[in-house]
Each structure stands twice: as C-alpha cells, then as structure tokens.
Symmetry: C2
Subunit: 514 residues, 2 copies
C-alpha cells in the first residue's frame, strides 16, 4: 500500500464517496488508486472552479463531505473562488491538493508556488503531509476537521512522494466534533426576550432553516408572534408549500433597513446581524435599527435546530400549529418572455422535491416571489457573492441527489465563469435543467453604477457592463459541451421547453431570451 | 477629482494604456473614470483568468505593463493561476484589485476575504491604499514596482472609499529601477571560462533571447564554440529564419540530462540551472552533469543583453558572423491530419513577423521542430505550467501588436480552462488564429501516469485522463462566443482553412481533429 492508497482508503472509511477532480502529474498515484479501492467515485471536471463548486453542492445536499483532487498551487488557485463561496456556506469539503515531491521544492520548478499561502484564506484546517506514513492519519483528521460543526474546508496538501512511497495501512474515522448544544443560558435568555412582548425577529441560518429546526421555529413564531427571517443568501433552505414561512431579507441595504424597521430585538440562530452586501457612499452598512437588542441563541458551531426545539419547550404552553405556506401556482405565462414569465413557468412546472442551485442574480427577484408558494423544494444560494457558483453547485447537488430534479436558474454573466460544468453534467448524465437568463448584461452593475454615485460614466464605461458585443449563444456553447440545449424567445416557447425538460431525465439547457 | 480618477490619470501618466478588466460594484468609480480620462483602453473579459493572462501577453509583447481591474478577493482568486504564469515570465503587470470600503470590512459581508493573503504568493509588490489622497502616489509606486527589472506583479488594492473620496491630483512617473548592469567581475569570470577550452553551454533567458542580446550570444558562440541554450519554456523568444540558433531544452528530465551530457561549465544569463519539471520516483530532479561548473553572467534583475555584449567585447578578436537559421519550410501535408501535419501547415503558411502564444502541450514537439526553420516570429511559452494561459495570452499579445498575426496553437484540455478568451477576441476584433489540437485527452497525463510508476490504473483512473465522453465540439463553442470557426479532419482541409485564416484579419478558430 502506498500513501495515495492509504489516503483514498481512509477517505472511504470515513464516508467520503465522491472526488471532484482535475488531476495532474503529481496526483497520478491518487488517480491510479481509485480502481483498486472500491467506494470512491471520481468525477472529472474541466476546470478546478467546477470541482470546488461541485464539492460545495454535494456537501450542502449530502450533509457530508466530498473530496476534491487539485493540481498544485495553480490548480488550487483556480478553485479558490468557489471555495470562498463554500466557506461562506460552511460546507464540509476535504480539499486534497497535490504538490511537488518534498525534495523537489528546493529547485523552484515552474509549477512551484506558495500553495499554503493560496490555501490559507479559505481553509478552516490546513495540513501538509510530511510522510507517506502519516497520510492516512492526516486524511482522517481532514475529514474530522471538514465535518466539525458548522462544516469547513479542510485542505490536505499531498506531496507526490508522500503519495508514491510506502504506507502502513488506512486510518479509521475519528469522532465527530459538534455540533455542540446551545448554551442553556442562551436558551433562557431568548425565552425571556420572547416573553417580553417586544417586537422580535429570529434570523435563522444553517440547519435551523430545515426539518425539525424550521418546524420548531414555526411553533415559536406561532406562540410569540416573532418574525422568522433568513439571510438574503442562505446556504440551504427548505422552501415552498407546506413549509413554515420564513421571510428572506432583501438584497439592498436600504430595503433591509426598511424590512427591519420597528424590530426591537433580534435572536440570532447560527447567523450574524444583517449588513449591507456592499458599502455605498453616504449609506449605512449596518442594517438593524439603532437600539435593536441582539441575542445569540446558537452560534454557528452549535446545533441551531436543537436550540430552537429547546427554546420552544422553554416557552411552554399548548403546541400550536405553525403557519404553513399554501400551494399557489401562478398561471403559465403568455406572450413576451421576461424574467417574471420565466419565474411563472418554473414555478408552475417544477415538480415536488426539486433542488434549486440559484444564481439568478437580478432575474431572481420574480423567481423568489413565484417560487415562494410553489411545490416544496430545496434552495441553495450564492453564499459568498463570487459569481460562477450555480452550474458547479448543480453538478454536486445532482450527484448527491440522483433521484431529484436539479434546477439551475443562472444569470448569463455568472454562467460564463464556469460554463465548463456543462460538460461534467453531460459526462455524468446529471438530471440538471439549466435556465440561462440571457439579458446580455452584468445587469446588477448597471444598477450599482448609479447607487455608488459613480458619475460621468460614458460609452466606454457602460460598455464594460454590457455583454451584447458579441452576443453569446448559449445554445451553441451548451451543445459544444455535450448538453442538449434550446432557445426560448417567447413565453410559450419557454413553457414548452421547460415542460419537456421536466419530463425527461438528464442535462438540458434553455437559453431564455429575456 | 476622486481617488479612482487620480489612479487612472496616474497610470496613464506612467504609460499604462490598457486595462484588462472584469469589474464589480466596488470598482464602479474606476470604470466611470475611463470616459473622462483619455488614454486608457478598457478591455472587458468574461473571466478574471482571461484578464490576467491577457495582461501577461500584453506585457511580454509591449515591454511595459497593462493594468488589470479585478473584483475583490474572489475576482483576484480567479486570476491567480495566470498571474502565477506571469510571475514565472517576469512580466510587468499592475494588478488593481478593488476591495470593500475600509470601514465596511468589519462587518464581514459575504464577499469579504483575505485579499492580501490571496495576492501575496504572486505579487512582487503589494500595497493596500489607505486613503484616496494616497492612491495616486501608490499607483506611481505600483508602476515603478511592476517595471523594476526583471518585471513583476505589483498588486494595488483599492478599497472602494479610496476610489470615491476626494483626491488632490494625479502623480507623475517615478524613476525606473533597473535593469542593472551585470557585474564586471562576472563578465571577466565568464570570459575566462570561455577561454579555457572546456565544453561550455550558455543558458539564455529574458532579453538575452532577443535582439542585440541574441546577436551578441551568437557572436560569442561563433568565437568560442559554446552551445546556446534556452529553457523549455522561455517567456519570449525570437525564433525562425535569420535569427541566431538557440537549442531549446527538452521537457523530460532524462532528455535534459542527455542533452547536457559532457557540458563542463554553464554560463547563466538571467536563468537558473535546468531542473526536472516534475519529480519522478527514482529519477533525479537536478539535470546538469555532476561536476558542471556554474557561473552567473547576469542575474534576472540585471541586463543580460548588455552583459552578453560586454562579454563579447571582453573576448576580443575579429567580429565573427554568428550562425543564422536558414529558411526551410516544410511541404504542405497531405492525407491524415496529425500533430505533425498541423505543424507542417502552420510552418508553411504563417507569415513573417507573427507572434505565437504557444500552449500546444504534447502536440508541441513537432510544432517546435517545424517552426525552427520557418519565417521569423516571436514565441511566447507557458512559463508557469498552469494550463489555460494560451488563449488569454494571445488576447494580450494581439492588443499589444495590432499589426501582427497572432497564432495560438492550443491543447484542448488547457483551452477548456479559459475558453472565455474567445469572446474578448471577437469583441475586440483581434487578429488571432487559434488552432485547437482536438485529441480529446489530457495526453500528457497518459504519459506521466507511466512515468511516475502509478501502477494498477484501470478504467476509472484512465477515464480521468480522457475527454471523449462527451466530445467537446470546439467549432460550436467558438461560434457561441462569437468567433468564426471550422473543423479540419484532413490535412488538406486544415491547409485550406489555415491558409484562409492567414489571408483574413480578425479572430478565427480551427479545430484540428488529430
């Protein structure tokens, strides 16, 4: 057994089943081991940003880590933006990066770089294996670190000689770290606050937005009248009919301020006080009312769902029926294709239990509205603001949930970042329907240009926000990457194409000409 | 005048004329300023790796820096891999990265990251502007740092409030730093070595591979019988008929060892001793003969061309005629399309004075051979080993040299990394002919798998190196990104398509089905 085999066997022992990879020479021993060691599924990606985004999508839906396999510092660098998003989502990922053999680094060969330097900003845990004999132990620690609540990126750097030299045996899983129970003091404090009669918001994140946590939050709201809120970009929410309704905070700071007006106290469950996404001259970054009192029911590494259940119990009283979202599907749209029409069709036609990898950007406002009373679904948001997450995330979600339809509504500007993900969808025959909002624009920037008070923008400046010249043909690109694609120019065409996508299985792309 | 305007005006004052950009909200003031300040050409890229690679290609050909404009940490992260390549090429780049307003960082908004941490591994100089009043001075220092010999990446981080707040005025250029003259002692030492009669190689890099430096090297070789060598991947070489011949070191370590057998002393001109690109079990990383004596005629930051001229003078004697590469064009190929046939056609048909952005990977061996006696051309190599450089580099080279034909021979695996560059070629109507070697494979890895001794690779492992499933249709992708494209299945088809590309202007892609 060599170091690479001890690594892969250890990962499998620890429940890691999928490897999103773009390997190079220094990772060939890892690659060679996947045939001899059962239980690891390698998924090839044409670009590392696809691999890391897919690992994020997998981790969010599977609730356990995938691993990556990246090639040296530059391969890692290509994956960093989506690791940034994954870090913001607190997704567990075992991020395996090959490096030159330890004795080769002294020569400063062309691919040598400060790999640790690249990895540090996104990693909650970081280890360079020093010997083939320690790789297995390091891998077990990496899984433990990645899954330590709330979840994080454990980067394991694997020098080539630690992969090809002899190892003893694989390692067994280490005990899980957390999630820890919330402090009883915090639960008492929050119960007290809720009994005060003051206007209260409860800002939910993490597991508190799903399953038992969401149900408990619904009961608390029914008992106390507290508002349930979620961040604008929550990693993983359960939405749609039958679920407890949660208000998603709006995007722009002044809208958040307006939404929170009158709130006297805010209970944070795995969340932080809401702030502006960007700073703007003369506008405030802090979005809560000045005298708002904050209490932290559960920190990020604590069990927010359990904390909500305990808080519900502490409040006592009869068990109420929480509010439920009613099913209310919009009519199918007709006529001109707009972002609203796309949203109506998606809400009308998407089946139960689908998963949304949502990077709909400026087209997302009507989509959120229409989907709010649509059939129940899971929603994955762009957590870190680094565009180009949606397509890779959909790859990972589809691999984690092979029996569920994955929908990927995506702005065209962001989709151009990591369009290589389409190839992996075709290769793995993933059941993902991608909708490209082809508005030929970094539309958000046309709004932001005004909001930041950047005056004097003329044709040169405005051309920097415009994607008309030349027009990207997404149907042609998707076909070139092996994905069946079509273009919709009217609502009727979109309805028909989306309906057919919902009936078939496998990857599909619709270019919505809004 | 605000900080952004003072920045752009300072860059223009310092000779920076082109900005390869993918801006976001925090960079809107920079964007808005390009209309009011004449002299800065913004070039929009759909992905930051395109912007940084283009800045590299521009810097190599223009001999002065372009700037980038990147959006926060994740935008920078997307550009790091090609900045790694640029760092290895010692290309001058002013790398401008917007950040959140200084007072906004405390809130840890979603896009906040350790921007300095991301930037440090690739930057030779790094500065976070602290005030709108210092931005102009910081920008002048950035240009000075980027152009300090041998050239490097000067990263200037521009918090949004330093862009939008008031500034005094733009700054003027600072004095250039280097290149410094080589040490007279080093010149004397090398002259002594060359008079010794021992078998000598001179390994050239940087300016020593072009113009007066190359000519001087040719005269030295003619006087002394020394072999002239260049690295396998030199940033910028002048090649082809009429030039002084320089042997390019082969790629694999054992080939380098064989090539250097018998060399008793090596004179380094802006270069380092040659080493293996990767480490392999049981193979040496160091490639020079054991007792080879090394002398450094010029360090990287010194003027290698001037040093060679001084060395030539120190050697004295009559002025010899250096050897010259004869023009010897291969016949046009017929029949089956192979990498060799592609190389023959390119060598036969490419006009004088073209620029090659070469990421031909495994298909590059016959191309180097065929181009060695072709018409004179400039050659830009993949310096840092991070694939996905070729297309962006071609963008930058074409903008630096609008009157020259740019040829981009590219492996399909690497081209998939930064294919968004095709869109910028179309947008800017760049005269780039891209040839995709469609072998549907990470072909180098099939070789490396054996070389690293990774045994036991079965179908799962081999599928990680294979790009057949699904087949990428490059013609379809290029068309989708606005570039005229065609597919060549035979040598005759390739000849006709390439000949027509050489006659027209503007971007063109040929998918060579080898």
């Amino acid at each position: 057994m060599n170091g690479a085999q001890s690594l892969v066997q250890t990962l499998v022992n620890c429940g890691v089943e999928v490897c999103f990879s773009n390997p190079g020479t220094s990772e060939m021993h890892f690659v060679a081991s996947v045939d001899s060691i059962p239980g690891m599924r390698p998924v090839l990606c044409l670009f590392e940003g696809v691999a890391t985004g897919a690992a994020d999508g997998y981790g969010r839906m599977a609730g356990k880590p995938a691993c990556t396999l990246l090639h040296l510092g530059p391969g890692l660098a290509n994956g960093l933006a989506n690791l940034h998003n994954a870090r913001r989502a607190a997704t567990p990922i075992v991020n395996v990066v090959g490096d030159h053999a330890t004795y080769h680094l002294q020569y400063d060969a062309p691919l040598t770089s400060d790999l640790v330097g690249f990895a540090r900003p996104v990693s909650s845990w970081l280890c360079e294996s020093k010997s083939s004999r320690s790789v297995a132990a390091d891998a077990a620690r990496a899984v433990q670190a990645a899954t330590a609540a709330p979840g994080g990126i454990a980067t394991l750097i694997l020098p080539a000689d630690t992969a090809w030299s002899d190892a003893h045996h694989a390692a067994r899983p280490l005990p899980a770290i957390g999630p820890h129970p919330a402090s009883p003091d915090a639960i008492d404090e929050c119960a007290e606050l809720l009994r005060s009669g003051r206007k209260t918001a409860i800002l939910l994140r993490g597991r508190a937005l799903r399953g038992a946590g969401l149900e408990a939050a619904g009961r608390i709201a029914a008992k106390t009248g507290a508002r349930l809120l979620s961040d604008t970009f929550a990693p993983h929410s359960e939405l749609g009919a039958g679920r407890v309704p949660v208000e998603r905070l709006p995007y722009f700071a002044e809208q958040i301020v307006e939404s929170l007006a009158g709130i006297e106290q805010m209970i944070l469950v795995g969340s932080k006080p809401p702030v502006s996404f960007f700073a703007y001259p003369g506008k405030q970054s802090w979005c809560s009312p000045e005298r708002c009192h904050f209490a932290q029911l559960a920190h990020e590494h604590e069990d927010g769902a359990q904390a909500l259940e305990a808080l519900d119990r502490a409040l006592g009283g009869a068990v109420p029926q929480p509010a439920r979202i009613p099913l209310a599907l919009p009519e199918l749209p007709t006529g001109r294709l707009t972002a609203l029409a796309v949203a109506q069709a998606i809400a009308h036609l998407t089946p139960d239990n689908s998963v949304f990898s949502d990077e709909s950007a400026t087209s997302g406002f009507p989509l959120a509205m229409m989907m709010s009373r649509a059939r129940p679904h899971d929603h994955l948001a762009l957590t870190g603001g680094s565009i180009g997450q949606g397509l890779p995330l959909a790859v990972g979600a589809a691999i984690a949930c092979p029996d569920r339809k994955v929908i990927c509504p995506h702005g065209d500007g962001g989709a151009a970042y990591t369009l290589q993900a389409l190839w992996t969808m075709a290769r793995e025959k993933l059941d993902v329907t991608t909708v490209i909002y082809a508005n030929r624009s970094y539309a958000i920037l046309n709004i932001e240009l005004q909001r930041v008070g950047a005056i004097g923008a003329g044709p040169k400046a405005l051309s920097m926000l415009d994607l008309h010249n030349p027009e990207i043909n997404w149907t042609s690109i998707a076909t070139g990457l092996g994905v069946e694609a079509s273009r919709a120019e009217t609502a009727e065409q979109f309805n028909a194409q989306y309906a057919s996508a919902m009936k078939q299985r496998g990857p599909r792309l619709i270019e919505a000409m809004i």
